[in-house]
């Protein structure tokens, strides 16, 4: 999930680069600030986030909005398109980002009612982080499963900076090697999640000969995952060139519809995860993918997906982080599906 900033040298689109952003005053009734990025405006009340743009307006339940925006912020706008819902979202151009309303909604787009603006990633990220900081109340953790956190509702009630500023794990070679990202333990603040209490906690036998302590290495990946304090937040655990193993734990629903700009693979390591697949451009339903432990599936580059897990499940997200792939797909030089037969 290493979203490299140098993936594209070319501008994201023909849209002019917007630089204007504003932070509004504190609302006397709700206590929240409003924000703007270009001609998009963001405000919240006790229940809803409200987004407006020239000739358009959209409302989202504020818990869903914060969970979606949290992923966009944590992932650095991620790979490709992050749909907060069927109307609002972002497209990552790696250094620049498009904020859109209705662009990937068939009805809006064909009626000419969609709107999009282009920003430098740095500029839009600053606005999104400010929104998250102001609108996330004490006790609400947008990374947590709904049963594990407080509520997002109500008027302004403190902050939860620790929850929204977590550092995303990104191993350079593999988790646990000296100098790399550390194992998770009770002692360093990662207790076992309640839904994985039954998992085996054994450690592998690792017997290096003298001088090979840094190369002979193994750890309990399932134990590591069972201690994740976040949901739907892939983190890099092992790296082979551009091949990134990004396992994650999933509970309830993926807060976004992710439209990747490359093929992405899922291997369900435990339990079950169901995926709702829609067309990337139009949101027209295309398939349902039901996965159980051991199932492997490819998410093509021309779809958007949303996952559902009734019990916390372990998922291996496998990405090819190569910077050139989106361009190859866009030019028709690489397929939307990695494998054909």
């Amino acid at each position: 999930m290493a979203m490299s900033a140098n993936a594209f040298d070319a501008p994201a689109s023909d849209l002019p680069l917007v630089t204007k952003t504003e932070v509004g005053p504190i609302d006397n009734t709700t206590g929240y600030r409003s924000f703007s990025a270009g001609s998009f405006a963001f405000s919240r009340d006790e229940y809803f986030a409200r987004i407006t743009w020239p000739h358009g307006a959209h409302t989202m339940p504020v818990d869903a909005f914060l969970r979606a925006m949290m992923r966009d912020v944590a992932w650095g706008f991620f790979y490709g398109t992050v749909n907060f819902d069927d109307v609002v979202g972002t497209v990552n151009h790696y250094g620049e980002v498009t904020l859109f309303a209705g662009r990937y909604n068939d009805a809006y787009h064909h009626a000419g009612r969609d709107h999009e603006e282009r920003f430098s990633s740095e500029v839009l990220m600053a606005v999104f982080k400010a929104i998250m900081s102001d609108w996330t109340n004490a006790g609400f953790d947008p990374f947590a499963a709904p049963m594990e956190t407080g509520e997002a509702w109500g008027s302004k009630n403190g902050q939860n900076e620790d929850a929204i500023t977590r550092t995303r794990v990104s191993a350079k070679r593999v988790v646990g090697l000296p100098g790399d990202t550390p194992l998770r333990t009770d002692q360093n603040g990662f207790p076992v999640n309640r839904m994985f209490a039954d998992l085996d906690r054994s450690v592998p036998v690792v017997e290096p000969e003298p001088g090979f302590e840094g190369e002979v290495w193994a750890y309990n990946l399932f134990d590591y995952l069972s201690r994740s304090d976040v949901t739907w937040n892939p983190s890099v655990c092992s790296v082979v060139g551009e091949s990134l193993f990004c396992p994650t734990t999933e509970e309830f629903a993926l807060p976004i519809d992710h439209g990747n700009d490359r093929c992405e693979w899922f291997i369900t390591l435990s339990d079950e995860i169901d995926w709702e697949i829609k067309d990337k451009d139009t949101a027209k339903p295309r398939a349902t993918v039901l996965t159980r432990a051991g199932d492997v599936s490819c998410m093509p580059a021309d779809i958007r997906h949303k996952g559902f897990a009734k019990k916390r499940a372990m998922l291996l997200v496998w990405e090819n982080g190569s910077a050139v792939i989106p361009d190859l797909i866009r030019k028709g030089e690489a397929p939307n599906v990695s494998v054909t037969w």
Partner: protein, 166 residues
């Protein structure tokens, strides 16, 4: 409430499926690693996922494997059973896997070099198979490994056999 984590194994797995609405199920390249391990020969390195040159291989560990070496790191995750891995630092790794080569290469015989150590993986454990090292798997009873690597001479691609076709 008490929760039970459902893990799969070669002898006990439940496979999901693609339910098409307006799409070809083949686009999802849908398979199950335990089914692949159950139906493959020991140490056949079957690709279950591929993204350009990179692959994820599944292999059924049973008995002793040949020795392998790659010019890049690889990683193995035990998905079922217990697997021992022996590691040897090759004196001349480029004679087996040239520096610009991809994927695992099979050694013709015993490796020449210093012993690096041994690892024993159980289900859920992940290990590093370091670049330039020869490695061999051992399993007393059938086990399932998932290997993060690059497509190479040992990679077997049999998508029509392993994937949902309709």
């Amino acid at each position: 409430m008490e929760y039970r984590t459902r893990l799969g194994s070669i002898s006990d797995y439940e496979k999901g499926k693609v339910i098409p609405i307006d799409d070809d199920p083949k686009n999802y390249v849908f398979s199950n690693i335990f089914e692949v391990a159950a139906t493959s020969a020991p140490y056949e390195r079957v690709a279950v996922a591929k993204n350009f040159e990179y692959v994820i291989e599944v292999t059924r560990a049973e008995g002793n494997s040949a020795w392998y070496c790659a010019a890049h790191d690889e990683f193995a995750v035990a998905m079922d059973g217990k697997v021992e891995i022996e590691l040897v630092k090759l004196d001349f790794p480029a004679t087996i896997a040239p520096l610009d080569s991809q994927g695992a290469h099979k050694l013709g015989g015993e490796p020449q070099g210093r012993k690096m150590g041994r690892i024993v993986l159980s289900r859920g454990h992940q290990c590093l198979l370091p670049r330039g090292a020869a490695y061999r798997f051992k399993a007393d009873s059938p086990a399932c490994l998932m290997i993060q690597t690059v497509e190479g001479p040992e990679t077997v691609q049999k998508w029509a056999e392993i994937c949902q076709n309709s």
